[in-house]
Symmetry: none
Subunit: 161 residues, 2 copies
DNA sequence: GGTAAAATCACCCAAAAGTATGACTAAAAA
DNA sequence: TTTTTAGTCATACTTTTGGGTGATTTTACC
């Protein structure tokens, strides 16, 4: 029961603790700074900045998956509507046939634009290792050895524009 | 409507509540540790909350337009590729303009087929170092950093099919 | 509730790619 | 004839990429 709750809201707890630590640090800072009345503005400005960053980070962490799934679907739908419906119908069937997931397709698309793994990682808010895993799986599924081959083959198979 | 928002931003709300609880805990801690100015703490807590919210709002506002921009770009590329397969004349003038030599173009073309530098070297009966030199110069002339970028740009410029 | 697939991340190692510099040769341009 | 340019190659170094393995966490589905 309790352990279930702990694992379920582990992130909340972690965030809570880091917040607590942050607040405690600020408290300590305040003790040092309160002596100078003029430092208060700086202190509050720093808090505003830190918490704005925290908010941005939180929002990105939370909305990231939903938003990106939407991207892919919209692209597929729009390209379907825009031109040749038969060519890009093979698209999806090939994807399922090869077993390429949405996330992998996303990575593949970014790869084709010339981004490095590191840049893709930054763009998708995940670690470099994760992107490496995705690329490796894509190579395996496409039966290629390098990213350049993957791009070439994916274009030939109409997986990517 | 409201229930939809509740489910959509469930996490945000949960984090918000945990934040509030933490602030309360901090307040209590403070009472136990040091006698201090209460009003200031609350004031700062309020600022933290407000700016966290601001950060979340900012991030949401900023990430959504970006997504739409990406979609538009992809559609444009798609329609361009579909409508203009006949243009293949600017090719040479661009090459001379960029100062890309015959050999470099050759390497670039093989690169675009997914070959490694070593494979290109074998195919052209030259050493690996020579290919590296060529690729480096091509990257410099195309103003890119990686071969994937070079391929993407070269295709966009109609240098290679 | 349990299971399976998808997604995330880490660590290590090896190979490939890329950077920088310098040198040599042959052919073309001045 | 001298100079320039394209092409060739090397050495040393850094960065990126890719392979292999294993682990945890989400998500989806039954």
């Amino acid at each position: 029961m309790i352990s279930g709750l702990l694992t379920k809201y582990k992130h909340v707890i972690i965030y809570g603790f880091s917040l607590a630590i942050l607040l405690f640090l600020m408290h300590w800072l305040q003790l040092r700074l309160i002596v100078f009345n003029h430092a208060l503005e700086i202190y509050i400005g720093a808090i505003a900045l830190i918490f704005t960053a925290l908010g941005i980070w939180l929002a990105l962490k939370l909305t990231k998956p939903k938003v990106q799934v939407q991207i892919i679907e919209q692209i597929i739908e729009k390209t379907n509507a825009a031109e040749a419906p038969e060519i890009f119908k093979a698209n999806e069937s090939i994807l399922t046939e090869l077993g390429i997931s949405k996330r992998e397709l996303e990575v593949l698309q970014l790869m084709a634009t010339g981004l490095s793994n590191q840049e893709i990682a930054l763009k998708l808010f995940v670690s470099l290792n994760t992107i490496k895993t995705h690329t490796s799986k894509v190579f395996e599924k496409l039966d290629v050895k390098r990213r350049t081959q993957a791009i070439e083959k994916a274009k030939r198979l109409n997986i990517i524009p």
